[in-house]
């Protein structure tokens, strides 16, 4: 499939609407993206034709549902370049995947004196679970600092790594700044001191090709809804040896091999971590979404979004009063900014009236806001369906913001 932006836009029914009489410019895909017809149809077809519970019925519908759901696991494996579907655990999303690692790997493996090393640009979802683990185990959280562009300080990182470092947790692409972190290099460095590496891929998967084997990380996770799949489905990749050594974190059906009232033998991964009836339609939608975006070609998607990011950066640069937050040389998908004297919340309301949907606030990354000395930013984030007209409308909207709010 060649990359034709008008054809791509036509596949997203939600984009074809007016907001307060203005065409919708959806610039909030980093929070949650929209779904193409291919995904909507796959879910609809599944519920109309194939739905039953998975993995246990002998009847036709259960077989079809199981095949469709497991095709989702294979789609994730293929997308991430993982060796085996046994290394792919379905979760509700990135947050649940991190919590799974925190409880099933972190709690049994960490003790007082150990260090958990997180970057200063983590989303709350890669901070809070580790605080719980730290409180429970006595391990200590340390933080990799960043510079004024939002680039991690690799010298400081090298100094922070030591034999007490047991886990390094880094966001692949920052949701608040757009920074693409050098996760392969960081993984190599962490492995030299024997640390396990977790990469939060929530903002990376929609924008670039991911290869977990090349990266050599130990855990990688993402959310379906940011990559054009439904909400409530996501995945964790974990190296086989690690997953096999981890205890279950939730008990129930599906995750067992045999149960008596005296004892239970748990199933091997990935089912060990998938208690209860899963989000089957979510898996079906995720397979459709990953297939759809891979057909476009991740390199073509990345190139398109990079062009838009450059164009948007140039447009915002025309406003003296706008300061971009996050100016790393390697960026993806995000234009986060503040306007001198105007609060982001007011910016968001005025832009909404112009049909431009942006996110305003701390983007669940309060430590990032604190690092830059600001309470919040306005964030315009890109999806595969955005075009230059969306960014032109953003710029027009910002002119209106400054006219109205001074």
């Amino acid at each position: 499939m060649s990359f034709n932006i008008d054809e791509i836009r036509a596949q997203f029914p939600v984009l074809d609407q007016q907001i307060f009489g203005k065409p919708l410019s959806f610039l909030d895909s980093a929070a949650s993206a929209q779904r193409p017809v291919a995904v909507l149809d796959a879910i609809d077809y599944y519920y109309r034709n194939d739905h039953a519970n998975v993995h246990r019925g002998v009847h036709q519908l259960s077989q079809r549902a199981t095949i469709a759901y497991e095709a989702g696991r294979e789609a994730v494996r293929d997308f991430l370049g993982a060796p085996s579907t046994k290394e792919i655990v379905f979760t509700r999303g990135t947050t649940e995947a991190i919590n799974l690692v925190a409880y099933a790997w972190g709690v049994p493996n960490l003790k007082a004196g150990d260090e958990i090393l997180l970057s200063g640009m983590e989303h709350h979802s890669n901070i809070v679970p580790w605080q719980f683990v730290a409180a429970q185990t006595g391990a200590k959280i340390r933080v990799i600092p960043m510079d004024d562009r939002g680039v991690l300080d690799m010298e400081a990182y090298a100094e922070l790594l030591n034999e007490r470092t047991k886990l390094v947790g880094v966001v692949h692409v920052s949701n608040a700044l757009g920074t693409i972190n050098p996760v392969k290099q960081m993984t190599q460095m962490a492995h030299k001191v024997g640390a396990v590496v977790l990469i939060d891929g929530a903002q990376a998967v929609p924008h670039c090709a991911v290869d977990v084997l090349d990266m050599d990380c130990d855990f990688y996770m993402f959310s379906g809804h940011k990559v054009y799949a439904p909400t409530g489905i996501g995945a964790l990749y974990g190296k086989k040896a690690l997953l096999e050594a981890m205890p279950p974190w939730q008990g129930g059906g599906e995750m067992i091999r045999s149960v008596t009232f005296e004892s239970t033998v748990v199933a091997p991964p990935p089912t060990r971590f998938e208690a209860g009836t899963p989000n089957i339609a979510g898996g079906v939608g995720l397979a459709a979404a990953l297939g759809w975006i891979q057909a476009l070609g991740m390199d073509a998607v990345a190139a398109h979004e990079q062009q838009l990011l450059d164009y948007g950066t140039q447009l915002l640069g025309n406003f003296d009063r706008i300061r971009l937050i996050g100016t790393a040389p390697e960026k993806a998908g995000v234009l986060s900014f503040v306007i001198d004297g105007i609060h982001p919340h007011d910016v968001g309301t005025v832009l909404d009236m112009e049909g431009v949907a942006v996110r305003t606030g701390h983007h669940c990354a309060q430590p990032v806001m604190e690092r830059f000395g600001i309470p919040a930013t306005t964030r315009a984030s890109l999806g595969v369906y955005n075009n230059r007209a969306d960014l032109d409308r953003l710029a027009m909207g910002l002119t209106r913001v400054m006219e109205l709010l001074g």
Binding site: H343, D346, V350, T360, A376, G406
Partner: protein, 146 residues
């Protein structure tokens, strides 16, 4: 007038840019911190009440134009007024902002916040200073509008 122009009336923009009574009362018989986790707005309201009269009331912190103007106009409206009037005023302001049976009789200048009713996502901005004041008078140290 468009909804936006009703929301961002000149008086609101003026108080948003140049808030009145910005600071802390000293002495203060009551104080509380208010926080809106959705947008990060934070305000501290301090006031001195003598024999039911609010002799001084100040606020400090940071927030959007709506919340800052609301805090500023709230302090202007209340200085010299009876503390026992606050619950009634709170209800009237809340009703005005949510569009729920607004009783504008005793609101004075505060009626400028009527435009907020068209922007449900902004109601908490306008009411945060009032929630903070209510908490202060109840002797609670902090309030969060989640």
């Amino acid at each position: 007038m468009s909804d936006l122009l009703v929301l961002y009336q000149e008086m609101i923009l003026d108080h948003g840019r140049k808030p009145r009574n910005f600071g802390r009362c000293d002495p203060a018989s009551h104080h509380a911190d208010g926080y809106n986790p959705l947008c990060g707005d934070r305000f501290t309201v301090t006031l001195q009440v003598d024999a039911d009269v609010i002799t001084d009331i100040q606020f400090e912190g940071s927030g959007c134009a709506i919340s800052t103007a609301s805090a500023s106009l709230m302090t202007e409206a209340l200085k010299g007024r009876a503390a026992s009037d606050v619950p009634g005023l709170f209800e009237a302001v809340h009703g005005l902002c949510t569009g729920d049976a607004p009783n504008t009789d005793k609101l004075g200048k505060l009626v400028v916040f009527g435009g907020v009713a068209n922007f449900p996502m902004r109601v908490k901005c306008a009411t945060l200073p009032w929630h903070t004041l209510k908490a202060a008078l109840k002797g609670e140290e902090s309030v969060s509008t989640e």
